[in-house]
Symmetry: C2
Subunit: 255 residues, 2 copies
């Protein structure tokens, strides 16, 4: 049905470790659901499991903070070693306040702490670990899409999602940081609306909307539902990338 | 299933006119789908049809621009009468540039043109009409929820959604401007994550995520799918309102 969209959180996803084969884990989860993969389906993965599989964990004890990190720690009240890792992953500080550090990452995402997360990193371990974003989540998405195509013969879209705060609005929402096989943005410019006017909202954040939809099922506190299968999302056939979503700084009025 | 979320765009929704009974139209659409409404379901309505039913259309010919509207028209290149109506609905200009007018509405939404839309207003009419947001979309949502409860006996959530641009990210996404029967924000503060750390993302924009999910099916150019039924969204039992989402100006670092 073209008027229906179904999202399913895949069951039995294990805790992800460095080096785990996410494509194999997705395929097993689909079998357990059970869902027969089809062309046009979209698989959404929480950033955390992609980062973990790619070994992006850092043990805080191993980090030596630079003077600049110590200064940021003073300004924010955050751990200086944590601030050091944020510095590794950012190209510019956007806002800094007590308790708050919003930066632009190397990929161009404006977000708190360069997307680095402290929670949910390692079980049965008294050490403090943090988790960096994937080095290139678009590439991660591309690789996963190719693996799934090879294994299943199906052409699926991939969205790697994270949860970001926003300007002006309370509440963090799911957004896309890695995309493959679908357009990250749907460009509707030039399409007349029902009465022949030109549309005012002309570029739609397709991948971000998919990221938010999946986030409704993924939850926050539970790492057991990091992978969501989506069927029935209308999109045009174009291979996209999350980097389309990055607004060039000179085009951004809110820095 | 608690791991599955299904969104259905209701069929056969007519073009909405001033005074139309949206509750009756929703119930008819559910019958045609067919979907038997149940407690915990959420109905998402595009802002446009709520505005139209509430008679929020303004004929541009009837508007006399004030000097301030003429000035805004000069700065933006927009129609001075259009700018006048934006002035009616805003409390503060946030950014103004050629082609762009971002304001804070009386409800607190930071968005382009106070959410006023030029497209899709009136068929078979050479006049230029524009459409203002509902005067109080939370109240509209509350009224609809009560009507649906009276008619069906079911306690459903209501989200009235619009499409907004954002800071930092390209692509407009669905967001909530009116909410009833569900929390607009889910507060997870204090909940430990899987390994006992405290969650970092603690307040989730539930209603905005639902708005984005529904927007995937609603499309932009087609007024034929303005109502989406959602089943399977996990949320805590609390009656909320979209005004929870408004970030107080003094708490906002991006004005």
């Amino acid at each position: 049905m073209d008027n229906q969209l179904t999202l399913t959180a895949l069951p039995n996803i294990p805790l992800i470790q460095r080096g785990d084969d996410l494509a194999a884990i997705i395929l097993r989860g689909l079998t357990d659901a059970p869902i027969a993969l089809a062309d046009g389906d979209v698989i959404v993965l929480a950033q955390k499991i992609v980062s973990k599989a790619e070994g992006r964990m850092v043990r805080l004890r191993d980090v030596t903070p630079s003077p600049r990190a110590r200064e940021l720690a003073q300004q924010t009240g955050k751990d200086a070693r944590f601030c050091e890792v944020v510095l590794w992953d950012m190209r510019e500080i956007v806002r800094v306040r007590e308790g708050l550090l919003i930066v632009e990452t190397h990929q161009g995402w404006v977000c708190a702490n360069a997307g680095i997360d402290r929670s949910n990193v390692a079980p049965h371990d008294d050490e403090e670990w943090i988790l960096r974003l994937p080095e290139d989540a678009d590439r991660s998405a591309c690789d996963l899409r190719a693996r799934l195509r090879d294994a299943s013969g199906c052409d699926v879209g991939i969205v790697i999602n994270d949860t970001h705060g926003r300007a002006w609005r309370n509440g963090a929402i799911g957004i896309a940081i890695g995309v493959a096989g679908i357009p990250a943005l749907e460009d509707l410019r030039g399409q007349p609306d029902l009465f022949g006017y030109h549309l005012q909202v002309t570029v739609v954040g397709l991948a971000d909307q998919i990221a938010s939809a999946a986030s409704l099922l993924q939850g926050q506190a539970d790492e057991g539902r990091p992978i969501v299968h989506a069927r029935g999302i209308p999109f045009s056939q174009r291979d996209g990338a999350a980097r389309e979503i990055v607004r060039a700084k000179e085009m951004d009025l809110f820095r």
